[in-house]
Amino acid sequence: MSIEAIIIAVIGALPGLIALVGQLRKDSASASKTTSEREQLENEITEKVLTRADTEIVKLNQRIAALESSLSQERIARQTLEVELSTERKARIELETRLTAAQQRISALEDELDQRNKRIKELEAARGSAGGLIGGKR
């Protein structure tokens, strides 16, 4: 292969080489610029997401605090109700005790009344028979 052939081949290939290298550099610069812009965009999005997340966390903490306060109030109300229930139970037990005693008293009085009635009937019967004897002697 002669020198002329090599020179012609190199001259023929040179425009392609130059264009290829130029285009590669241009694309590389464009790609790095695109990468930089994308990173910046990602950073902005991340910052916005973090800010939004912080806001949501603050709102959730407030909501949790409100719920805890409400829960505390409900607990206090439940304890009050439990105390009232306990008092009412004691009162009911006392009333039941008094009721039992009164029923026993009533029962005792009824028994005593029965005995009195029985005694009255016996006395009346005795008086009746005594009256008959007095009339017969006359």
């Binding site: 052939a5 012609i8 190199v10 290939a13 080489l17 264009a19 290829l20 590669l24 694309d27």
Partner: protein, 98 residues
């Protein structure tokens, strides 16, 4: 070898021309439509077409010139292949990064 009025060399030149056009299109697409990547195959096509036109216009061209030019085209094809390989490597690397 001659088939009718068409010689085998004409046939080879035509096939080469068509294949070269296909190569340009494929290379252009591989280069994602950027014209800078298609200059090398177009330059080879122009080189080859110029040789074919010159030898058609002047069939009595000096044999040493024909041999020299033909050698230059062969070497140019090797350069073109090398440039294609460089382009493929560059685009593959860029694709891997992204």
């Amino acid at each position: 070898m001659q088939i009718g009025v068409v010689t085998s060399d004409d046939l080879v030149q035509a096939v080469t021309f068509v294949v070269c056009l296909i190569g340009i299109v494929v290379w252009f697409r591989w280069g994602r439509g950027r014209f800078g990547y298609a200059v090398a195959p177009i330059a080879f096509l122009v080189h080859r077409a110029a040789f074919y036109i010159a030898i058609t216009i002047d069939p009595m061209m000096d044999n040493s010139v024909v041999v020299m030019w033909s050698s230059a085209i062969s070497l140019h094809s090797v350069f073109t292949l090398a440039l294609a390989a460089v382009l493929m490597v560059a685009i593959n690397r860029r694709s891997a990064k992204s």
